[in-house]
Symmetry: D2
Subunit: 325 residues, 4 copies
């Protein structure tokens, strides 16, 4: 095993609060071990285009509390081709980057795996996505911040729901996963939670609106966005038609869910993972995502990490239902 | 002038943060002067339906910091008819309510004016609406909170805009008025602000996207909702078509803008106005809205207050443009 | 095992955000199982004084997002005597309370254990304290909110520290435990963390100030309050004396750490625990605290729960040090 | 009048949220008029030491929402001497700075006035201080943010006060001025407000505690820090002695009041003032502070601005008293 002298770090995919804390941890830990750190801007696109810069101690000062990613992120169609990856490899060599820390979600790790397998570059992945849908970690960087953003928004919406005796259908992020919807449903005292993992929730909601208590002054229904953003409007229309006496409104939370200052938990998670990533590369590990399972650092092969996690605590659905009686 | 013994207070129209602080101020000031206070729930609808309750000192404990309105709000078609108003008057008499404090916007004051003119009930209006579109007050209760909610949301969106080099079109509330859009446009460092009061902004935006700096990493455009919510999607589509190389997204902030804890300014404003409303009734005033102009209590006839204010500081549009260069 | 018909619920010790979410969950779950719920106000003091009220579905509406405890809390010297506890038992019988859910910390559980042992009343304890210092749960209700309150405060302080090149010594809560200090130290990018569990941190801090980088523009040191509040002033004086060229200030965060809206995690935790408490009583369990370990509900005998947890992840201290280089 | 080519901008005195928004506005407006901008770091100290840097369009990107000041601030004993000021002048000339925008409070303006009078350098002052104690502007940059920070902190403290039936004495900033205390007292529903401008408040508080309602579950007293920080402890001790049955606690909010993201109002104010400062210099104005009075730009000679404003709305004290009945 050759000694690593220059770690490249980048973020890719949707930005998530805490990415900056992870970058900071990678940089500071690498410098502590007398390695250099090269920031690769705009993910795989920048990797191909030579968008590199050295990161110093001060490059990551005062960013632990900032949302977004100072390294920016971008999609890259080019990287999906063999030729594009060759260009990326060429640039990495040119900039003497001899190991990588890739922060992102499943798309990021698919790319990282390719670099590792095709060119033998040591790669560690860190889970950075608000969706919390990866195998190999209890939480992804950004998830805790996103769910707090959601409940703060729903708290505001509830003020209006209470004041006007309304039902609000609130759509939250989560394309294939109800992770955000489920936790925020419990935490916001929702009437009902509609998620991809559980198909007949809508029937249950109708049943409750039909046969349940009539004296509720406000109702919140949380809907995971599912296939495409704005699906909540469809559900809203059905509810309005079936229950015309209920004053029903729809709110799509949208992009506010990605940004903002990371929570304490996200900053601690990101700091621990960034630290562990450098330690792992130093110890010769590669091709793995580092996560935290039961509060311990855990290593998962990248190909396994990108299998979307299906472990959703469906018991929480029952808790939502009982507690909103 | 008969002495007032029992003041009825109610909120009507869209809820606004600070309404509770105003209710608290009305109740406590009236009790201080040994008057009773009757809370009328659900606006004019509740006034007709007899939805009344006595408000005591403790009824308004610990609500100064709460969004929404503990008295709830509702629309009333019935009240728009002479018969409906007769019923309202009947109920007011039955509950010995001999004066009213009406908290809301122009619709609220139109109703209050009718009660005053048709039945001679002393009425004072307080401006409670996030839109800040009334004549006779520098600020309405709820406006300051709403604009802070907006900029906090845009700050989050900017994290993503910066991270992905995107243009975000953010729609904020304000049907006929750009008050919210204009202030939040300045405060969020927006590229451009599109408001009903200024028609050719879109042309200006296109010109800037066409001929302006190309190296901007993110752009925020604030759009007042105008005629109907969701109009920003339309603008988004035009921008996407004309500027396909710009990664453009749309975010409708929607209902989160109405709720939340009132800011310091809204609480102080609401407290002062609630206090002044009772003092005014006690002094024999009626048929007026009480606002604050240049930090002084100001009285405006209700018929004048509901003339929508057109005084928008268009100089701010120029500041937006120059500061976002 | 007799069937439980009326569950008494109370909070005791210092208030913690999320207690209301736990009360709500207990009430709603019990009603779901057709049991009654009696709220006992002001902890053991109210239990003795007969400060009881029935809790209905609506009694716990719209409280999931509120800090503090609607049941209030108080200290009780009387309950520490055998006579006091007899009185408590008498009142419980008089109000037909046949099982208890006690929400609080070690003092609360010591009392609960006595009731259970002396009078055979079924009792379940729920961990409600910001200190996170109990055995048998990964997190206590309120901890996550408190650490977020701390980092938001430190973020503000850092603005000034950065602007004036200052060192700030920030004292956070935690009498015998560095749990709050350690996590918030990592999350706020602190220079150093001083906690009861690690004795020679002060020497390490002096060493860094003496021999470390001189070009740091701001420094944050987090101190657990230890024996008595305000100890940070003492440390501040030593630092000022030894390093007169460093502009050093002290900030005691104090009581703001206990209040505020609970975070998503605290609301979910509290909801799950409140639900589990009722299920446990129904299943005949007693004398146990219910916590969450590795995201699973866990039962721990009360006498074991009150052994203060010493499991602090000291590896985080090293991470603080390396990341603030 | 010579044409201004290079404007120097600096912040001095205590940092205040919104200073960055003002710096951004100065830079962007100057660039719009084809002037250069030189940032002078660390106030007068940096002016003497040659701590200068050119500010470009991107130097002020994405700072409108940040607390503190990117130009840093510092005290300067040297500048108080004639020799120090000569050095400052020498450095200004050396860096071709031919006009200044000074952002800060009375100390800042005293210095600015000296530069203007002794060397004829065109100078405009902008009011940047959380204290809101200057003549010539309704609000200073930072004040609105500070009072919102205070009420958010007091909201948290009230959770505990309510839960434990306590009286909290909360000390807020304001050495010679009760501006912060008074507004936040109204907005937090305080029992009483103790400020330098009104001497016998303490007697009034005692009277209320002695003869007022006994059934209040919580009480908040807001105290302006006055001569020295921590004075609230003294008051706390008196209250504890005179009213031993009241559970009284003291909380010093301290430095959290200076930092944090500026509110919408502070960002708008700072943007308008920064814009107006450059326009004023361009128009040949000098020796003035620019503020906003009745929502209009207002110019006040620096010597008048530094006369501390004594206009405090004492009517608010009465409102505090009546509303907290």
């Amino acid at each position: 095993m050759t000694q690593i002298k220059n770690i490249g770090v980048f973020t890719s995919g949707g930005d998530a609060p805490g990415m900056n804390a992870a970058i900071r941890a990678v940089v500071r830990t690498a410098l502590y071990h007398d390695m250099q750190v090269t920031g690769i801007r705009r993910g795989y696109e920048g990797m191909i285009n030579g968008d590199y810069e050295f990161l110093h101690r001060k490059s990551v000062s005062n960013i632990i509390q900032r949302g977004g990613t100072i390294l920016k992120s971008a999609r890259s169609e080019q990287f999906k081709t063999a030729e594009g990856r060759k260009l990326a490899h060429y640039q990495l060599k040119k900039h003497n980057v001899d190991a990588l820390v890739a922060i992102g979600g499943d798309g990021t790790f698919t790319g990282a795996k390719a670099l590792y397998e095709e060119f033998g570059i040591p790669v560690i992945g860190l889970p950075g996505t608000i969706d919390n849908d990866l195998t190999g970690t209890d939480y992804t960087i950004g998830y805790d911040t996103a769910i707090n953003t959601v409940i703060n928004a729903v708290d505001k919406i509830r003020d209006t729901a209470e004041s006007h005796d309304r039902l609000f259908i609130v759509e939250v992020m989560g394309r294939d996963s109800g992770m955000i919807a489920l936790r925020t449903g419990v935490a916001s005292g929702a009437e009902s939670v509609l998620i991809p993992e559980s198909k007949d929730d809508l029937v249950g909601l109708f049943d409750r609106l039909e046969n349940g208590r009539k004296d509720k002054s406000s109702r919140i229904v949380i809907v995971a966005e599912g296939e495409q953003e704005g699906g909540a409007f469809h559900i809203g229309n059905i509810v309005k038609e079936k229950f015309p006496h209920i004053d029903t409104r729809v709110s799509i939370l949208g992009h506010i869910q990605r940004g903002g200052k990371p929570t304490c938990m996200d900053r601690v998670l990101a700091s621990r993972l960034g630290y562990a990533a450098v330690e792992a590369l130093k110890a010769g590990r590669s091709g793995e995502m580092i996560g935290v399972i039961h509060d311990e650092i855990a290593y998962t092969p990248l190909e396994k990490a990108i299998e979307k996690s299906s472990e959703i605590n469906l018991n929480l659905l029952k808790i939502v239902e009982i507690l909103s009686l």
